[in-house]
Symmetry: C2
Subunit: 346 residues, 2 copies
DNA sequence: CTGAAAGCGCTTACAG
DNA sequence: CTGAAAGCGCTTACAG
């Protein structure tokens, strides 16, 4: 019954990872003590803890997170619902989010292709996901459904860069209206009177606010209301939208796009298809500040999202939700106008 | 002791998810029967299964994957180790991989920022991850360490677009040498005699093979050996490398880059900084075929990776590994030369 | 501070 | 085909 003895049937079969019982046997303490040695604020004498940790390291023991999850009913896993990673702003966000979560001792489960909210819920609840982050890249109705079902199931949700109508959910967003306003002011200052806005296929809070801030400011500045276009939130979408805009009557001399992909597509259409000069013939402003916006071929003036700060805020909201705190209101993170060379005389 | 009765202390406290015991009580069968009703090929009469499923749906019951994982010692989770999502080829790969995994009933845990293989292993084994996919975006030494440790711990690993020296691991890669050869032949055919190759900061199998296939073919074609440059595998890296190349003695008139980001950076440096024309003054070829390669401003001729096929192969390798099959050899997926407009007269 | 024991919610031999 | 029961590896009241 000495160190090699263990507790009869509790011994780990050869080739299996050591369990807390193996460590307990080796250290000559109870299994509870081993468990306590690995929990932050559990009563345990220093001497005991040292002994346990010593035994644990010689056995290469790591507490089994699955077993812990079952016992605590907390998995330590946060799901990120992302319905298509088309926008190049997401890689950096996912990366930052993953790192921050790791610091909190949480893992990140990536949920892609969210066509069926029902099925996604099944996957979520099956793994007892502690919380879910729904990104703006998810289709609007999927977001709504997923969010409602999570709420019904008691799973904390936080929205990333989207605010949902009629659903009271904590969310982090950038200053969308303010960004639209900044773009409008820059254009007004540059003397533009004929502007246009290119939005997305869905009337999301993000698109609505960016357009609203832009249009209101343009109009308040005494210029004509911006012409409105929309398309898929992609390079192709922006390209096609710009072509439609310029083919119409009274083409604009400046266009503000609801994201950088759209703006880059618009620039390429203007320059490569229509032979226009940017910014001499047409000014273009984007939103996001993806890496490509800084590329020499574009030097796109854009409204930067402070993604690091937004991720930080999202993690804070998540932490609050996990600790059962009252759902905080929408957190708004500031934006910055990054002036490069796609706007005339600025 | 009727339908509401349950089994004494086994009843779920109010507000908690229904468990298999609740379903069993409602259906009037044993808990084992409930368990069997949710497993694919378990012996259970149709009548019984129907009764269980009926009760399950009225209670909104879903088997708890955490508990199942503990019992089966299989978590149903595959980890994807990705050390930085800088290359825009990854979003689509992650997306496809996630979908395929979901079809297999597997979840995807994203592991970002893999500085410390030790810590990553702790996270992996803690959640009893069934397998891990290590992508080429991970630093070479991290890949090696992580792979070795997984092997030591008995966790199946498959490498994505990388082959490791001295480590026998299943891997899927594209035809890197062949891709290099295709690029060289195109350049030779266009009459180029002074070529260069821009590689990465690390001597990975990927870079080595692409360069090897390229250089061998160029030399076999009777042209001078390509000049060699390297830099971070990014837009900035390609930009800087091209500038160094053109500043040196005997600047090349064609450059093959080990990935598209490098190639796009090189094109921008050539055109926007040096005022050269592409392809008239300089031909450029990339590798990957990221979405940006098709943008009008670049129209980059490149070697396309069949990512869909590669993901498919990776899932097959994973499945084989999970079922304990013998580690298959390296699977090589073909590549395609996508001729756009960045190579002279072709 | 420490240990014995029940419980988290499943799966799966083992008997019928 | 069906059920009783042990076990997966932890956590955490409950007693000392």
């Amino acid at each position: 019954m000495a160190e090699g003895g263990g507790k009869g049937r509790r011994r780990a079969p050869a080739g299996r990872r050591a369990s807390s019982y193996d460590v307990a046997a080796l250290a000559g303490v109870s299994q509870s003590a081993v468990s306590r040695a690995f929990r932050a604020n559990a009563y345990l004498s220093d001497a005991m803890r040292a002994r346990v940790l010593e035994a644990a390291r010689t056995l290469g023991f790591r507490p089994n997170a699955i077993a812990r999850s079952l016992a605590t009913r907390r998995s330590g896993i946060v799901a990120v619902a992302i319905g298509g990673i088309g926008n190049p702003i997401y890689p950096a966000i996912l990366d930052a989010f993953g790192r921050r979560l790791a610091q909190e001792g949480l893992e990140m489960l990536l949920l892609t292709g969210l066509d069926d909210a029902e099925e996604v819920m099944a996957r979520l609840t099956g793994y007892q996901t502690d919380a879910v982050l729904v990104t703006a890249s998810t289709r609007l109705d999927s977001s709504v459904q997923l969010t409602r079902r999570c709420q019904a199931a008691g799973v904390p949700v936080v929205l990333f860069n989207r605010v949902l109508p009629d659903v009271h959910v904590p969310a982090v967003a950038c200053a969308n209206r303010e960004g639209g306003r900044m773009a409008a002011e820059l254009l007004l200052r540059a003397g533009h009177r004929h502007t246009a806005f290119i939005g997305g296929p869905e009337e999301t809070s993000t698109v609505r606010d960016r357009r609203g801030g832009f249009a209101d400011t343009i109009i308040a500045g005494g210029a004509a209301p911006p012409r409105l276009e929309a398309g898929p939130l992609s390079y192709e979408g922006g390209r096609a939208a710009l072509l439609r805009l310029m083919a119409g009557a009274g083409p604009p001399d400046a266009v503000f796009c609801t994201n950088d992909m759209l703006a880059i597509g618009a620039m390429d259409a203007a320059r490569q298809v229509l032979g226009l000069r940017v910014p001499e013939d047409l000014s273009v402003i984007g939103f996001d500040d993806v890496p490509m916006a800084a590329w020499d071929s574009y030097a796109l003036t854009t409204v930067r999202q402070r993604t690091g700060q937004m991720v930080e805020a999202a993690v804070a909201l998540l932490a609050a939700a996990l600790s059962g705190a009252a759902p905080p209101p929408v957190v708004e993170v500031p934006v910055d106008l990054v002036a490069r060379r796609s706007v005339r005389g600025s």
